[in-house]
Assembly symmetry: C2
Amino acid sequence: MSAATTLDNRPPEPDVARPGVVPPDVAEPHEGLSIALVARRTGVTAHTLRYYERIGLLAVPRDDAGRRLYGAAELARVVFITRLRMTAMPIREIQAYFRLVEEGPGNEDRRLALLEAHRDQVKARIADLESALGVIEFKIATYGGDCVP
Amino acid sequence: MSAATTLDNRPPEPDVARPGVVPPDVAEPHEGLSIALVARRTGVTAHTLRYYERIGLLAVPRDDAGRRLYGAAELARVVFITRLRMTAMPIREIQAYFRLVEEGPGNEDRRLALLEAHRDQVKARIADLESALGVIEFKIATYGGDCVP
DNA sequence: CCTTGACTTCGAGCGCGCTCCAACCCCTAC
DNA sequence: GTAGGGGTTGGAGCGCGCTCGAAGTCAAGG
């Protein structure tokens, strides 16, 4: 479920939607997806998307009426955030990371350091998880309901 | 600790315990470990050990003064609980599991079912984790600070 | 016109898993 | 006897990451 697959936006469109070939369900509006659409595509609730914005993880442009319009970049960021959250990166760290991103170019080394540190933690967590899984599997295999190896 | 330092004294006392020869630091006391000792051995704080007991994850026998004395079985259970927690099994499920254990023999199938279900979830989580890790590693490798694959 | 429904903001609330405090008890050492 | 360092209890508090409710705005449809 990569972002790219759902993001074939070719919006060199002038203004009003030209009746192109539009997938059943949901067409890209003029430019940008509504919050509900992003919610459905990413599996993140609209509530949580707003929450992410409130705490500064991303900034989403609005239409004339003040409604959020997620473009490709915003959608990609949401997806990336979900990957970071899925690996249990604390919100504070994600904030720190995107703060660096917002600062613009020049600090890529620090961003990389953050990501690499996190990557190492994830690897360690996977290792722990596998070790604990081993214990559980052993318990299952030798089931006696009581003690452990 | 204090147990070790006190052993050569022989206070003329009317009470029970006759101290044996005990190696320094961490010998098993008469029978059972103090909560502090278990905390140090398992890495679980004494607070949390009491909490686990409060919520019914285990029952720990007491000495005459009402202090907890962890035996081999209790220690083993604490260790097993840490393995379950390490794999993010919710406390409620752990409660459910040990409730079955306390019920005594006859429900091993249900206990096994619980453990096996959890094992499967852990495996799934590891897979998710590895997939998200892949995304992060890709991002690191192709670093451009911005979008995702 | 009025309704419907998706959106907006702000702020409060919640579930989880601890974590900590206060007050008290008990045992030993000095 | 007194101090100190363990232990005990019950209950309150906390940090995290959402999650939800209330009240309002806006645009389209009947």
